[in-house]
Symmetry: none
DNA sequence: TGCAAAGCAGAATATTTATTTCGTTTTGAC
DNA sequence: GTCAAAACGAAATAAATATTCTGCTTTGCA
């Protein structure tokens, strides 16, 4: 009986199997010289084009590299994995630049209810802040600032969970000398208030699930007057986003049923400070 | 024989089937309102998290959204595709030439002279959140929760920049059924209000530089009545920290003269949710 | 040059994943 | 309320993709 050669390649006592892309990359670089010819080609492709490899099937990779599919499996086992799919999981996690894949997080977060709230919410907030940077085009901020600078008056509305964001934004804008009006947080007065909006004004609306109907109504009324609306919300298809000229997304990674306002607060700050810097630059000219 | 209903949804005469992600996105936004409930959920996920959807299988998407796999196929045909795979191809093409990652963006723009406010404040917020985890002992949270649970009534005060934090905390506590009273944000009424504080109550005070004198005065008055004070502030030696039983530090990494409220907001959330979990655990016992 | 060990290609198989089918439930018009 | 059309969920099926298996080829050493 011959020894099962291939199985020997992944000695369990070796370096621990990489779990993240940086680990994988250095593991490949370290072992590259000792690999046989075909596997060198595989390693090189994974090092050079990890993002392409993340999205391709083994068949496609085989065609792109001229290496047979089975070689990819041999390669994976040689580096300590059970199969090529495990490598691809790492590549994909890296591509979506998250610590772990989305699917894993969904299942994991349901298990780790025991993790302390402090860690849970902090991590969740950090994740959503990272997303904020990626999903906010600078042009959007510029366009928002331009609208705000040309406004006769700036109205700000936000209820319930969105109230802290709205009031913070209004506070900062007022601090920069902008003519700012903040809608009262609650009560039947809100609707009547909308009558003070005039053409030439700008409306800044903050709304997160569960979306306040009052906010939606005020936005609808102002949009009907051709008053431009800047929306700070969690989704392009949120109620207020439809009527908005400019939509800022602050998606809120949900942790244990509670979403963090951190990204929304930071977003409000960024918009306000950008406004402040713009008028300061103008003043010094 | 009944008509094959589903097949009718993708009329060939309609708008041409999208080929690129921007086209797909606007097509989805345009058709969103007319879609049935489950398909709306699918559309929203594709609009909000296209990069996640690009890497997930239909089964994973199904779990993440709570929508059955077959609905994804129905959706794809309704929008004019042959199957979901075609949509995913578009998403993947888009992902492979997407903008640079967050980390690259920060490092790159920190080299250039003018670091955009978005990157500045986000990085600053992330830093202070990391600090928050390290500097907040779990025992502190437990002690705070215990005080809150024994309170006859919970008063919350915070002015100016601290107002969003105070109002958010009060909002969440009220949501958990706590008897909560939030001091009005401004005006000469504030001082008079302090008279409604009674022994057996708890005061939660939020104060950051420049420290509001009104907040300090209210805290002083309530502390004199032997009403315990929980302080959310930036330093152990902040004015309100001296009289507080429990001090939570949310140190605010300063970026260009503007401090982020992110860590304070998350801290408020953590305290409130810990309270909520505590009373939920008690109720189920 | 001979021989064993390792590497390899291609086909067969197993597994995962997408799609279809069909009975049930919901929705909306009358 | 009643009925028909549409939407939905669950399971069955089809398609794709990954992995294993086999025999052949190359490599390296004596």
């Amino acid at each position: 009986m011959t020894v099962l050669r291939d199985d020997l390649l992944g000695q369990p006592s070796e370096t621990p199997t990489p779990q993240t892309y940086p680990e994988l990359r250095s593991a490949l670089l370290a072992r590259y010289d000792g690999l046989p010819a075909q596997l060198k080609i595989v390693a090189q492709f994974l090092i050079d084009k990890p993002n392409d490899a993340a999205l391709m099937t083994i068949a496609a990779l085989s065609e792109a590299t001229g290496v047979q599919p089975s070689a990819f499996i041999r390669f994976s086992k040689a580096v300590g994995f059970k199969g090529f799919s495990e490598i691809q999981t790492i590549l994909r996690d890296n591509l979506s630049n998250r610590q772990v894949s989305y699917a894993e997080r969904v299942t994991r977060s349901s298990q780790s209810a025991s993790l302390a709230p402090l860690e849970r919410f902090t991590q969740s907030a950090i994740d959503s802040l990272s997303t904020l940077v990626e999903s906010t085009p600078p042009a959007n901020i510029d366009a928002g600032v331009k609208l705000l600078r040309n406004a006769r008056q700036i109205h700000v509305v936000g209820h319930r969970r969105s109230w802290p964001v709205a009031s913070y934004f209004a506070y900062m804008m007022a601090g920069f000398g902008a003519a700012t009006h903040l809608f009262s947080p609650t009560g039947p007065m809100a609707e009547a208030d909308a009558s003070i909006v005039r053409p030439g004004d700008v409306m800044v609306a903050v709304s997160f699930p569960r979306y306040s109907e009052e906010t939606a109504r005020i936005v609808e009324q102002t949009a009907a007057m051709n008053v431009p609306v800047i929306a700070i919300t969690n989704s392009r298809v949120a109620p207020i986003a439809r009527q908005a000229q400019i939509v800022f997304e602050a998606d809120q990674d949900e942790a244990a049923g509670f979403r963090s306002l951190a990204s929304a607060i930071v977003l409000a700050q960024v918009i306000a400070v950008s406004y402040g810097e713009a008028i300061a630059a103008e003043a010094s000219r």
